[in-house]
Symmetry: C2
Amino acid sequence: MDAETPEPTAQDTTPRDTAVEAAAPSRRAVIGWAGAGLALGAAAAGSVAAATMHEAGPAAPGIDSTVDIPFYGDHQAGIATPVQDRLHFAAFDVTTTDRAALVKMLKEWTKAAAAMTGGREVGTGATGGIPEAPPDDTGEALDLPASRLTLTIGFGPTLFEKDGVDRFGLRARRPEALVDLPKFPGDRLEPGRTGGDICVQACADDPQVAVHAIRNLARIGMGVVNVRWSQLGFGKTSSTTPEAQTPRNLMGFKDGTHNIAGTDDAALAAHVWAAAGEGPEWMTGGSYLVSRRIRMTIETWDRTALQEQEDVFGRSKGEGAPVGKQKERDTPDLSAMKKDAHVRLAHPDSNDGLMILRRGFSFTDGTDGLGRLDAGLFFLAYQRDTRKAFVPLQARLAANDALNEYIVHVGSGHFACPPGIRKPGEWWGQALFG
Amino acid sequence: MDAETPEPTAQDTTPRDTAVEAAAPSRRAVIGWAGAGLALGAAAAGSVAAATMHEAGPAAPGIDSTVDIPFYGDHQAGIATPVQDRLHFAAFDVTTTDRAALVKMLKEWTKAAAAMTGGREVGTGATGGIPEAPPDDTGEALDLPASRLTLTIGFGPTLFEKDGVDRFGLRARRPEALVDLPKFPGDRLEPGRTGGDICVQACADDPQVAVHAIRNLARIGMGVVNVRWSQLGFGKTSSTTPEAQTPRNLMGFKDGTHNIAGTDDAALAAHVWAAAGEGPEWMTGGSYLVSRRIRMTIETWDRTALQEQEDVFGRSKGEGAPVGKQKERDTPDLSAMKKDAHVRLAHPDSNDGLMILRRGFSFTDGTDGLGRLDAGLFFLAYQRDTRKAFVPLQARLAANDALNEYIVHVGSGHFACPPGIRKPGEWWGQALFG
């Protein structure tokens, strides 16, 4: 970053620092950059009042895409937040051994994230007055509203220790819950889609906004981090808004009927947020994220009888009703399903009440060398303690689920997502590194 | 296809056969499939009135995403149509040598395309009453409106002749304008992203709808065609609606300011539609499509000075104004730009008035092995005669454009897109194969 914005000094402890936000023009309000002799001048200064006026973008029913998601709060946004339409997820390798450089980048990332989630540009939005410098912001989201952008950071096991080396003096702070995931039956994990020292989940209702956010973080992190892998997603496959229509996965089935609602504070406390005393203090109020790139053997599935498809899931395809029931939200009779039906095996009643917050997206990444669609589900799940949630659940599914005939896990990640940032001046990872 | 819908017999010659459409329930209206013992029954029958009632989906400003794009007409939809938000483009290899099988597939594709662009399912929407059969439709778009879906077909040079073989007796019908594109300076074309016997461009305001459409065509074509390559796109980079805000490409610049408007019939006739007597009759009213996967060296670009970026394009980054001007749509003074500026070289005034209809999309396909973003522009251009449009234009750009330092063409396609289908019963390619 050639030109930094001044560090906000406000000590306002409200979740959202509106004073800081009002002081910077929104992207939409900026009608010309300072480069090439065209000054912002009065136009930008006069546009402050319009800073929160966004044009309507795409949104789920009942969701107002023009209302930005607050960046500051007790928990990171992007977990309980109503699921946005698009995803760009990136896992980064830290390439430096310099702890100070990493901390500096995390501070810069935090400022950029606060700006972008507020619909503003990174940095000064231009070149800090130096035409010879690259712009602070890559510019492709310049005319676009924030589109409910959230940016959620997580720290992978290898940030704490890699090949036996305590890289940044963090080994003692690694949460016990941040386990190295076991190898599950059937896993065919590709190293280039697995792991990562740091992850950032960008969700927005506009893919250009999500892509812009990850790209600008990668640009800021040049020399400190490299993108190890990234994943675009669409067609959210699990909703955290039970009142909305349940989305469908690429197998054509409704997915996430029985998910944790983002408004259900009791369920979130019980199943999603790491509690005080259960792990290191820097994770209290945070959550553990597991990502799995689950490829579907689409062509095989598409040639499978409807009855078989419905047996595999334990629900009807059209309505999504559990076997023997009429409506999607009718209480399932698990005993009416086949023993290896996906819903039966994954249901809380079969798992001592275990629940995870699913937040996955469909993906289609073109075709492989054999002309088969490289498509499936990019599974994202947040939980209070992975050892008591994803690990036993996936062990059960990997061993028994009828769905395994049609899917293969090809990528995996595990990240400790710290609690939220409460006010400007704090930074991502502060309690971990501080 | 295990269960076919009856061929419509209506001889209605209006562009859109509303009678046929009203007779089939829209996807949204179908609340349960016929599989697994849950009958559609009265619910579907009673829903006909709701067939054109869609919930609002994402759309560009001024575009109503709930109004379906007519499938029938003089020209194929998806060319002059206001550009949708998302793209799934597929190039197919024909794997059979059986002309009759290919014709049968094209007929089935046409019926499926008419259904899907009308927001309806493929086939019966279930299994034709046979639970042992796979569903006619893969189902993931079951609850979604058509989202302005258009499907546009084109035929590549290799369909007419490949390795000297007249595969389907079409060699004599190959349009002269459907040239084998020359190798341009700097081309680094990958075979796996280049060519194809048939292409289908799916555009919609919802990616799940576009992906669903290509997938179902691929499924129908099993044993006849294979997907050779496919490309997802977002953030349309050229608008055919000049009244809307000009979109930005991933270099952060407005793209397509001076594009052909989809409502400008005179310009379309002059530059886009193949005219009678200029080529084979089966192409009259059609258009020639060139696709180019243009990868941007994003990381290099992002480190380039703003002044250099603006010099390369010949426009300012923020406003998009031509060099020395104030507003995006001010008439450019080409002589004020650098000699190798992109806008100067590509402008009609530098090319004897040559214009092409651009309809490209941004893409981001993860990262390459070096952690660099695999991102750029999937360029799509429609023209009356490629020999007089893309070929000389690209020859000029490839030799001189300052932008070449930051881009590389890695994929290419050339397709003859026939005119539109005027009524049910006609099929894609009928005049070519007939």
